[in-house]
């Protein structure tokens, strides 16, 4: 394996989004290919975790706890250590995206091609998350990073506020 020591230390590697291989997550057996290409092994656990995200609406902004729970509901018991390891690997491979939606935990969702990147509007009271797309966002991100010589990995625009229903609850 390429970098065994700090490998699991989040995306500290120069593994950028590869526009040449966009829909990998759709196909059933491609996971093995993607993993092996980078020296990882294909395992049933990793496939099941990815499956969870691919069954659309179900998955979407899942944290480790929710993944563990939803897998249990599907009759699959996968340890937390395995879940965390799989998430890191898939983020590294560009299959998943890690999100900081505030609160002390990380959320994950299927990664999308850079230009289709969406952003988030979070209610700090109830945790409700809405998504939106906006091309100017990604433009600003990429122009800002190239003008400083940064190689862009990804942008996150997160808007915090209070959703309509929480507003009425709080007066």
């Amino acid at each position: 394996m390429a970098n065994p020591t700090n490998f699991f230390n989040r995306s500290e590697t120069t593994m950028e989004y590869d526009p040449a291989s966009p829909e990998l997550n759709q196909e059933p057996e491609l996971l093995k290919t993607v993993l092996n290409k980078e020296g990882f092994r294909f395992t049933s656990q990793r496939q099941k975790i990815l499956d969870l995200f691919q069954s659309a609406a179900l998955g979407h902004h899942l944290n480790a706890e929710e993944i563990h729970q939803q897998l249990l509901e599907r009759g699959e018991k996968i340890s937390f250590s395995t879940i965390y390891r799989a998430l890191h690997v898939m983020v590294r491979l560009g299959l998943l995206q890690e999100l900081e939606l505030a609160e002390g935990r990380k959320y994950y969702e299927l990664n999308t091609p850079f230009m289709d990147q969406h952003h988030h509007l979070v209610c700090v009271h109830c945790g409700n998350v809405e998504e939106f797309e906006d091309a100017t966002m990604t433009q600003v991100g990429s122009s800002e990073s190239t003008s400083r010589g940064f190689s862009l990995l990804n942008c996150q625009f997160t808007v915090y506020g209070i959703c309509p229903s929480c507003q009425s609850l709080l007066g």
Copy 2:
């Protein structure tokens, strides 16, 4: 005090940025006023912590650990519990801004009027953070939130990438 139970649970209260009281952090004794207005008490610890941020370039994206350390260097020993409590209160009062620059810890900086809000470009390899301003960002944030009936609290645009010097190190 208004909401004793979940009070310290981050900014879950409807305490929006007040454009009428912008430069509070500049003045020396205003902290007491701001605290008392909301039922908090003025303490030397809170003043010293705020002082740290106000001595500009020194402070800027400080986490609890760094605050504790820099206070020690100034000969002030303030416990972590007090530091964390003070940070929460000051965020709640709009004096400080809490940032999620990735990595499992939170950073703080002096809050600025909404329209002057700046954003961050983070090197995921060395942690170097650069700031930039962009009006479109805040526009998109506010239009997006009003169009959904959210009451806006704040926006964070964070761009992740690899800085020039880390790029050369990594080949």
